[in-house]
């Protein structure tokens, strides 16, 4: 067992993958939230400063980050629903794998069109 595996190992299979993704997307969204508080705070310095800050988001790298952020939020939200279902509906542990595949299907169904639209809508 390597050192890294100590931090990412849980119960194996779909359960472990969904748990690891939940942590990674959670940290990612929280770090962005800190940055987002700072960029929004710049509005206190008036239109010139705030419009300059917003212009920093108008490039392909930031757009890609924006799409990844949206995907992270969506996954975290859908997997969170799966966690709540299993917590409050005792019989659902039997179908927990199917619940995870359900998360994946709903995620793809929403994320793919949204990502395509976001890339196309940006000039």
């Amino acid at each position: 067992m390597g050192k890294i595996s100590k931090y990412i190992t849980y119960r194996g299979g779909e359960g472990q993958l969904s748990w690891l993704l939940h942590r990674i997307t959670g940290i990612g969204v929280f770090v962005f939230l800190l940055a987002h508080i700072v960029d929004t705070a710049m509005i206190g310095w008036g239109p010139r400063v705030y419009d300059w800050v917003m212009s920093l988001y108008r490039n392909p790298v930031a757009l890609t980050g924006e799409v990844i952020l949206a995907g992270a939020v969506l996954y975290h939200a859908l997997n969170g629903v799966r966690i709540i279902i299993i917590d409050f509906w005792p019989g659902s542990t039997v179908v927990q794998k199917r619940l995870f595949y359900g998360v994946v299907v709903v995620f793809v169904a929403i994320f793919v069109p949204a990502a395509v639209y976001m890339f196309l809508a940006a000039k």
Partner: protein, 126 residues
């Protein structure tokens, strides 16, 4: 252990945090996805600027929405990091230091975010 998340704690602050994560999670699912839909699908960073925010914050509705979403999301995230520090930081000294830093920095960011939303006044840039 029989849940997908952490098993339900017996009581006290841990149980309160466990319940808060689930309740805030459901509320945030709607609030954040609506926020993303409005800001990144209906609009995007091409059109979001000072004028856009001034118009949006002219009435109290979106300010209230944003401040409620900020608090729920921030405390949800802060508690998530707290759980991870408990999981990963083995030494007691480092754990206390990490948690203290988390709470101090978290408090500062939450105050900054709230002040920005609640005090923004387009007529008086400072």
């Amino acid at each position: 252990m029989n849940g997908a998340g952490r098993s339900r704690p017996q009581g006290g602050i841990d149980l309160a945090a466990w319940i808060f994560m689930r309740v805030s999670g459901v509320v945030l699912l709607f609030m954040v996805l609506i926020h993303l839909f409005i800001m990144h699908i209906m609009n995007n960073v091409e059109v979001i600027n000072y004028q856009f925010v001034a118009h949006r914050y002219a009435t109290p509705f979106w300010r209230t929405y944003d401040v409620v979403m900020l608090w729920l999301a921030f405390i949800h995230g802060l508690n998530g990091v707290r759980v991870m520090i408990d999981d990963y930081v083995g030494s007691r000294g480092w754990r206390v230091f990490s948690l203290a830093s988390l709470y101090v920095l978290g408090f500062m960011f939450l105050v900054l975010g709230s002040l920005v939303i609640l005090t923004f006044n387009p007529a008086h840039p400072f």
